[in-house]
Amino acid sequence: MSSEILSPEGLRCDGRRPQEMRKLKSELGVSEGPDGSAIVEQGYTKVLVSVFGPHECVNRNLRDHEKAIIRCSYNLASFGSGVRKKKMVSDKKSTEVGVMIQNTFEAAVMLDKFPKSQIDIYVQVLQGDGGERCVAINATTLALINAGIPMKDYVCACAATVYQDSVLLDINHLEESSRGPLFMLAVMPRTESIVQLQLDHRLHNDHLDKVVKETIQGCRNIQVLLDRQVKEWTVEAAAAYDIKPRV
């Protein structure tokens, strides 16, 4: 088992180098019903996010007179993971991830521009092969951009683990199942401010600095790719109106 994580030549189980990220494919505006939607695929992990809003608050008691509220729901498809998972209405882990994503975007979205409104973010994980939370955050960023909701910056997330003193970035399911630490970071790349941080299992203090630096670099790599996708989509969308935007 341990030899599969990192070979003596320095290659991971899927042939990547420690700092190499998985192939990222993304698409904006995949669904017609929601105001904004996006699919992000990192390796075999594929997440679809829909954004509805800003619209009137459904529950008047939760209405905030100064800013918009965000409601987030996270779901893993039954066929998404290796073993079939039966759909549960209130799965504790799913609720927790939903709240985490909500908190992440409360920091990034300019909520004060839409008082008394509600923004709904719905995350559906279609395939899970590790790093579902991170891919969900990346896809949500794109979906919010697709919906035209103003944000302070991109929010990019990346997960890492430490194995034999090497930091492995953008971990897949096999690497997540190993007994190493699971370090997830969501960052706003321009200011390098950390919006979300989660650590599972044990991480030695000596490794902390290195892990944080490399994960932030991982997030910056993602931001470059997401930005490229947004610009491509903008040019395409503007072409429908015969506009050539300068990107």
Partner: protein
């Protein structure tokens, strides 16, 4: 009279909206009249005839974690079907056949209405219709799914995930289901020994697999009664004007495998026979096109 009809339609529209069958609520009486006239004159709002389906997009083997999968888009409705197989104990009452379990899941990404328990009613509805469709042993050859008679068999967990909802959910689900089963590959199982010493070995060689026979798998054709006429593959606006609908399960050879009337509204017996006739005709054509495209896709993959 028209006034009476509009009043009935308006009262029904809230029920339809609450059930999730259609999201459209604001239709003026003039729009309703326009849609009804269109269907009766065989020329609908989008130019289709009453028997025409919207464009169908189909792709199989889209989910790597599954034994078989398909993605189907019909108009604005999009569905993902994944088939995952597992080895289980046989049912005491049917020890020589395998099992099928179909579950529908309406994702919240399709509509805010489907968050939490909001989707339960419509999900149960779709699950029941699809399960009913496949209930007979003559649809999927369940005998092929038996591994050891009286002991073990394959259970196919079929999960239907709706990613976008734009009308006619039952039909798109049944088409995607058939395509997913067509693409399903199951590993060969080697059984050795007898009784207590029996050993089952599931092969993990990716080329040592066998495919399901889907030549008897039905699809569902839903026909809605609109005004004094009926139509297939309704968009959401059209559903909001309809009264009563019929699900017809059509086999590839044109036989009717199941039928279910749903929704509020009466259907005339003569209209019912006409609807079934049209349903069978449309269903056969869909099967023909579906088989043609699935075979073409399989030949591309050279499997």
């Amino acid at each position: 009279t028209f006034q009476h009809y509009f009043k009935r339609i308006n009262l029904r529209r809230n029920d339809l909206r609450r059930s999730g069958l259609t999201m459209v609520t604001q239709l003026s009486n003039a729009e309703v009249q326009f849609i009804i006239d269109g269907v009766e004159q065989d020329f609908r709002s989008d130019g289709r005839a009453a028997e025409d389906y919207r464009q169908i997009e189909l792709e199989t083997r889209v989910l790597p974690n599954t034994n078989g999968s398909a993605r189907c888009k019909l108009g604005k409705s999009e569905v993902l079907v994944g088939v995952k197989a597992e080895v289980v104990d046989v049912d005491v009452h049917a020890p020589h056949i395998g099992k099928l379990m179909i579950t529908a899941d309406l994702s919240a990404v399709a509509s805010p209405k489907f968050v939490g328990k909001g989707s339960e009613a419509l999900e149960n509805d779709i699950t029941n219709v699809l399960s009913f469709l496949y209930n007979s042993t003559e649809t999927v050859p369940l005998k092929d799914l038996c591994i050891v008679k009286g002991e073990s068999c394959w259970l196919l967990n079929i999960d239907v995930l709706f990613v976008q909802c734009g009308g006619n959910l039952f039909d798109v689900a049944s088409i995607a289901l058939k395509a997913a089963l067509y693409s399903t590959t199951l590993p060969t199982v080697r059984v050795s020994g007898e009784g207590i010493e029996m050993e089952m070995e599931v092969s993990d060689d990716p080329y040592h697999v066998w495919k399901l026979d889907v030549s008897s798998c039905p699809i569902c054709v839903t026909l809605h009664q609109i005004g004094s006429s009926f139509a297939v593959d309704l968009s959401e606006e059209e559903v909001a004007c309809s009264e009563g609908y019929l699900h017809v399960g059509v086999m590839p050879d044109g036989e009717v495998s199941s039928m279910e009337k749903a929704g509020a509204g009466n259907i005339d017996p003569t209209t019912l026979l006409e609807m079934v006739e049209v349903g069978v005709r449309v269903g056969e054509e869909i099967h023909r096109q579906l088989n043609k495209q699935l075979d073409a896709e399989r030949s591309l993959a050279k499997l």
